[in-house]
């Protein structure tokens, strides 16, 4: 006969060990989810076109955000003191949600010229194969033919109707949006099949990764003084407004 607790003496260390393991895991979670965005030095905001790097090393610093130029797709005042550069995936459900949030932000801060919204491409091929990239190309072709207005008409229209997560029937939706934007179908199709925007989209993706983006939506807010703020995921309107208020006070 032996006492149960003597038999299991070594297990008295299990609980502290379990707590240590759990703590280590939480620390690991923090590391993995935030090894990107780091301290930011102010970035220069220019109106000139900058050549884009083909495949920059991911630095995870938001100050690596490519300067906003007239080549970007901008909603609102291009010279707004606060710019929110969003890297988005047309088939991501959270991008759809954040698109609505950003439209609300622009309704509130766009008319006064305080905030500009810059849209860049970040199609996640592994999560939304083929379709996210195809819609990104389509949006660029819409912009090429119809300018900034056509781009936003296409983009707003797509996020309105997309079922997200690769469930959208792009064969039907894209031609419909092209028609609604008043674009020429033949010219659009030629552009769409040309592959001419593949490098541009790759450059956007590379810049998203370089600034610390590892999922979508990923955004970098640029304040009046050039300071940058990482905005990860679909943050609620209240948080974006609070961040705008902070950025405004920084100038």
């Amino acid at each position: 006969m032996e006492e149960n607790h003597n038999k299991n003496q070594p297990n008295q260390y299990l609980i502290p060990l379990a707590i240590v393991i759990a703590g280590a895991f939480v620390a690991g979670a923090l590391y993995f989810s935030n090894s990107g965005a780091t301290a930011n030095a102010p970035v220069a905001i220019t109106d000139t076109n900058q050549p884009v790097a083909a495949a920059p090393e991911p630095t995870g610093s938001t100050d690596a955000v490519r300067p906003v130029t007239s080549e970007d797709h901008i909603k609102g005042n291009p010279n707004a003191p606060i710019k929110i550069v969003e890297y988005s995936d047309f088939e991501c459900p959270f991008c759809k949600r954040f698109h609505d949030t950003m439209n609300e932000v622009m309704d509130k801060y766009g008319d006064s010229g305080e905030v500009a919204w810059v849209f860049r491409q970040f199609p996640l091929e592994q999560l939304h194969p083929v379709k996210a990239q195809a819609v990104a190309v389509a949006s660029e072709c819409a912009a090429e033919q119809g300018g900034n207005d056509a781009f936003w008409k296409f983009t707003d229209g797509y996020f309105d109707v997309t079922l997200t997560n690769n469930r959208t029937d792009i064969e039907t939706v894209i031609p419909q949006l092209v028609k609604e934007a008043g674009l020429d179908q033949v010219t659009f199709q030629t552009c769409f099949e040309s592959g001419k925007y593949d490098d541009h989209i790759e450059a956007d993706i590379a810049n998203a990764v370089e600034t610390g983006g590892r999922g979508t939506p990923w955004s970098v807010m640029i304040g009046p003084d050039g300071k940058t703020y990482p905005v990860n995921g679909a943050q609620p309107l209240a948080a974006i407004e609070q961040l705008i208020s902070i950025a405004k006070n920084e100038q």
């Binding site: 038999k7 895991f25 991501c92 592994q126 999560l127 590892r214 990860n232 995921g233 006070n249």
Partner: protein, 182 residues
């Protein structure tokens, strides 16, 4: 037996407080994981006041409704509550047995396994940003997510299951007095 045990434990304010603190901590970690970079950045800008950072942090709790699917938000809350219950029950149990060593292998393994599995599935479900995808991408296996029916959220559900099991085991322990066995 199980409900009665929970009633006994949570009737004591100390254990209820412990439960609330642990649950809130786990929930906060899950919600704030994607935003640590932003908060850290704000702390580094000297002109940003502590009040502004706290206000922003409070607003970021709203991302439970925008950065998560209904499924992931649900199991994130459930995991936080279950883990809070587990830690509380463990504290109660350890206090009740004082210095008597006992076998808690299965309880500990299930609880930690549940938390780990749960954390794989949580930490912001925005496209590609949750922890599992980060780790898979690190090992060049990000495409695996596309093959999972729920895109990796399965791990959160497994976490819930393991934590329920761990709580069941610890309640059984509480109700099974230490005895001599032959």
């Amino acid at each position: 037996m199980y409900v009665k045990t929970l009633r006994v434990v949570f009737a004591k304010p100390l254990y209820t407080t412990l439960f609330l603190v642990i649950s809130f901590f786990v929930l906060s970690v899950a919600i704030m994981l994607p935003h640590v970079g932003l908060i850290r950045t704000l702390w580094q800008y000297e002109s940003v006041s502590v009040v502004e950072i706290l206000l922003l942090t409070a607003n970021l709790y709203g991302s439970l409704g925008t950065n998560f699917t209904i499924l992931s938000a649900s199991y994130t809350v459930v995991i936080a509550l279950l883990f809070g219950i587990q830690v509380t029950l463990l504290a109660y149990y350890l206090k009740s047995i004082r210095n008597k060593a006992t076998n808690l292998t299965s309880v500990g393994a299930s609880g930690v396994g549940g938390l780990i599995s749960g954390f794989f599935g949580i930490g912001c479900a925005a496209c590609g940003t949750f922890l599992l995808s980060s780790i898979l991408v690190l090992f060049g296996a990000g495409g695996l997510l596309a093959w999972l029916p729920f895109g990796g959220e399965e791990f959160g559900l497994i976490g819930v299951g393991l934590l329920v099991y761990a709580n069941y085991l610890i309640i059984k322990k509480i109700n099974a007095p230490l005895v001599c066995v032959s």
